[in-house]
Amino acid sequence: MQKEPAVSADQMLAFETDCHLFSGCGFEAPGLHSFVFEPMFSIGGFDFNKPILLALVGTFAIVAFFWAAFSKPKLVPGKLQMIGEAGYDFIRRGVVYETIGKKEGEKYVPLVVALFFFVWVMNLWSVIPLAQFPVTSIFSIPLGLALLVYLVWVPLTFKRHGFVGAFKNFTGYDPSLPGGVRPLVMVIEFFSNLLVRPFTHAVRLFANMFAGHMLLVLFTIATWYMLNGIGIAYSAVSFVMTIVMVAFELFIQLIQAYVFVLLTCTYIQGALVEEH
């Protein structure tokens, strides 16, 4: 494979720029290939591509923001600190204290706050000009985070309830169920909690961002593709749809980040809860 020295369209864009309606060129719909980027450079076997660049820049941006907001905090906050405090307080009170409780939850506040802002910023890349790619639509990212959360709440369950207690917790053991149904429920619960849960946790975020990006790319490409002759009218509609979808994506990004940390807290709370 040919490596190009500078950043090219293949590395940054998801479609060909010289293809228009009526120019004898077919519409190139976005697909899985829209999520695969040419590496900018390779170190050993590792390809450094756009999503990784965005992940690192996003990481830097989060740390820089909170550094600016929180590193020298004042009793009477400045603007930046006030914004940071609002976000922090929203997650701490609105998510952690609400689900886990103040006493037990305090320990998990840094994790959940970091998760929320990390996921949100990685989602946010989707609509930031020039970047325009949600890092969370690369399955590795949400999967890694979901596994991390999994590795928090599963050991926590064992630590809190012991082996038998944890088993009962995972299988939703309920002596009030009739004997015949009980094993069935336990098997279902076991699979649902221990095997399916981390997968759905990751996929929920990934699929939302994946689909959102797909829609944005679709309307963006269509706007560009139809920008020829009479096609301009269609192009305008597609452009409006792009704007609408960007607004919608902004909303979805926030919701998905919120849902991700809310589920995290729910899992931790489920691990802490006493047997019934």
Binding site: D10, L32, F210
Partner: protein, 187 residues
Amino acid sequence: MNALVHMAETEVPQNPLVPPIPELVIGLIAFAIVFFFLWKKLLPSINKVLEERREAIEGGIEKAEAAQQEAADVLQQYKDQLAEARHEAARLRAEAQEQGAALIAEMRAEGQRQREEIIAAGHAQIEADRKQAAHTLRQDVGKLATDLAGKLVGESLEDHARQSRVIDRFLDGLEEAAEADASGAAR
């Protein structure tokens, strides 16, 4: 350039649910960086200030409460003092009344005593006067009787010693007779 060529160029359109390990690792490292900074440095820092702010606000409330408490204490103290003063005044009044009564009683007793003294002195005076008068009378009566008897018998009885002896005897006889009469009457 067409789509097919492009597809060929962008390697295999792989299954999006099969995660490339490098990206997984990079993603986790990126998250770890965010988490580390927030956990170790930035959240403790902001928590400290949030706590300080909470204390500052609650400190203000506490200060106000303290001031209110102090005011209440002072009021209570004032009321207590007032009650005490009233009590003291009442006590003083009662004492004064008592003392006044004692004084009056004392003065009355003193007056009584003085009156009795005066009366006693008066009686003594009267007694002395009476004795004086009786004495004088006895002399006068004796002189008159002697003079009268001398004139009557013509015998000079002017010899003083004799004269007085006779008179005394005579009067003693009279007194004895009077006393005998008196005791006889008393008996």
